[in-house]
């Protein structure tokens, strides 16, 4: 059964890959790779630029570039932008992998271009981007970008994986109390989140209400972190918008489920002199609305971004250290070090998901706590 499923899965994957590469080849000949420094990424500056580019979100799913033919292996993703002329949708392949404002796409009267993974709208009448000294576009501005970017694609993939896995687990209980197959792995994780994260922090009485959020966020972050470690090159939890959104969800949840005691303690702390109470209220409110979510979002963002940065830099060691240690030495060193960091990153992937969920439930626990006496 399992073997059959695996074969099917691999067959689908191979089919997908071949169709993707066929697509990629068809429109490539007119696109001579125009980015600075040619095709190969082999100087420290290029490596830094490559890493910086990876850490950003991207509008197409790019796996690999063939240096000889200039062919990009990957597939384009839909671009959905809100411009001055309304909603515009097209495939990212229209930018021809250009990322520095040289390819202009005209859609119903608006000229759009892509600079450093951001989509800009050119001002009326302009037909080329003019850059100032700091490489900022002078005659173009950013648009609201609802594209299915690589990160959004990653999130959708994660959501799909979660639905598949956990709906299967939920269905399994109809057949018997003990799950079978892959669900056996998922069940202890669900129990772990419930018994080690939610119950002790929120309390036996009230934890049930928040389980859906905590479980979803835990597995969402964990799977995205792990996807980021695959060669697919996702960096979703390293996008500050994503972590900010997760943190704001936590804030909204604990602010709206705060108990009477919580508000009483936050806004008018009993047991301290009356003069101090407004000052304490400001401090507490800033703590709950700004500092706590900020610590959540920065922690996740920084850990994942730093992890990707370190892994990519260590992989790049085989190029940067080639002159000093020779090809074998630099490759061996890079392999050992990146393997080591990769193992740590696998731990970090879990740890960050755990910490985010843990702190979220801790904050929720603070908000819903009821004091017996005053």
């Amino acid at each position: 059964m399992l073997v059959k499923q695996t074969t099917k899965f691999i067959a689908i994957l191979v089919l997908l890959m071949t169709s993707v590469s066929t697509f990629a080849n068809s429109g490539e000949h007119d696109n001579q790779h125009e980015e600075a420094g040619g095709n190969k990424v082999d100087t420290p500056d290029e490596i830094n630029a490559y890493i910086a580019h990876h850490l950003k979100d991207s509008h197409d799913f790019h796996l690999y570039t063939n240096n000889e033919t200039g062919a990009h292996i990957g597939f384009p993703l839909p671009v959905i932008v809100w411009t001055s002329a309304g909603l515009k949708t097209f495939m990212s392949s229209e930018f021809h992998h250009n990322d520095n404002g040289q390819v202009i796409v005209n859609k119903g009267g608006v000229a759009l271009t892509k600079i450093h993974s951001k989509i800009y709208e050119l001002e009326a009448g302009a037909d080329a981007v003019v850059f100032d000294d700091h490489h900022h576009a002078e005659n173009a501005h950013k648009v609201l970008d609802f594209s299915i970017t690589k990160s959004v694609f990653g999130m959708l993939l994660t959501g799909l994986l979660m639905l598949l896995g956990f709906v299967a687990l939920a269905r399994g209980y109809k057949k018997g109390a003990i799950p079978t197959g892959f669900s056996r792995v998922l069940e202890p994780l669900v129990i772990y989140v419930r018994d080690e994260i939610a119950r002790p922090n929120i309390g036996e009485k009230k934890y049930r209400k928040f389980m859906s959020f905590l479980l979803t966020v835990f597995f969402f972050i964990w799977i995205l972190n792990l996807l980021g470690l695959t060669p697919l090159g996702f960096n979703v939890t390293g996008q500050i918008a994503v972590t900010a959104c997760l943190a704001i969800f936590t804030v909204v949840i604990y602010m709206f489920s705060g108990s009477k005691d919580f508000w009483a303690h936050t806004l008018w702390m009993p047991g301290v002199p009356v003069i101090l109470r407004p000052i304490l209220a400001v401090i507490e409110l800033v703590g709950f609305i700004v500092i706590k979510p900020f610590s959540l979002l920065i922690r996740l963002f920084a850990n994942i971004t730093a992890g990707h940065f370190v892994v990519m830099s260590l992989i790049a060691l085989m190029i940067t250290m080639k002159e000093a240690f020779g090809p074998v030495g630099s490759t061996g060193m890079s392999l050992v070090l990146s393997l080591f960091i990769m193992v740590i990153e696998i731990l970090v992937a879990f740890l960050q998901a755990f910490i985010f969920t843990m702190l979220s439930s801790l904050f929720i626990g603070m908000a819903v706590e009821e004091h017996d006496h005053h």
Binding site: K56, D57, V81, K118, L144, D145, F146, S147, I148, T149, S151, V152, M155, L156, G159, M162, L163, F166, V167, L169, A170, Y173, A177, E187, V190, I191, R194, R208, M211, S212, F213, L215, T216, V217, F220, Q239, I240, A241, V242, A244, C245, L246, I248, F249
Partner: protein, 166 residues
């Protein structure tokens, strides 16, 4: 910080919010709720089963203790019964002996009384017989004695002598 703000994409934020919201709703309906409910049911079931096993164990222990007690009681009862039976037996034997003794005594008594009365009547008979016999003898003697005058005088004299001796 500037870099961070520049990298912040409102569009991505919006998409993430939508996706997360939909995912939470879907997962809640199709996964978390049934999973958590099943887990709860299963845990309750396990707890109940453990409790039931514990209770059954206790009950069994009680039952065993009861059995032991019953057995003990039965043993004591048997001892008592046996002892009573032995006592009754002894008493019966004793009684029977006494009864027999009394009966025998009564019978001996009666026999003695009967023997006595028989003896008396026999004595009476014997006396009468002896008296008759004596009379007859005396008659015969008197007749012979009184057949002659000498002899009658002799007799009167001996009798008188006898009288005077008295």
């Amino acid at each position: 910080m500037d870099q961070l703000l520049n990298d912040f994409s409102p569009g991505l934020f919006f998409m993430q919010a939508i996706i997360l919201l939909i995912l939470i709703v879907l997962m809640r309906k199709f996964a978390w709720k049934p999973i958590l409910e099943s887990l709860q049911t299963r845990e309750d079931g396990i707890k109940d089963a453990l409790d039931a096993a514990q209770n059954a164990k206790l009950e069994l222990q009680n039952l065993q203790a009861d059995n032991e007690k019953l057995l003990q009681d039965a043993r004591v009862e048997r001892e008592t019964l046996l002892k009573d039976a032995r006592d009754i037996k002894n008493k019966m034997i004793e009684d029977a002996k006494d009864e027999a003794q009394t009966q025998a005594n009564i019978m001996i008594e009666q026999a003695q009384v009967a023997i006595e009365s028989e003896k008396k009547s026999a004595m009476v008979e014997l006396k009468k017989q002896v008296a008759d016999l004596s009379l007859e003898i005396a008659e015969k003697v008197v007749r012979t004695e009184l057949s002659s005058k000498d002899k009658q005088l002799q007799l009167v004299e001996s009798m008188l002598a006898e009288k005077s001796l008295n």
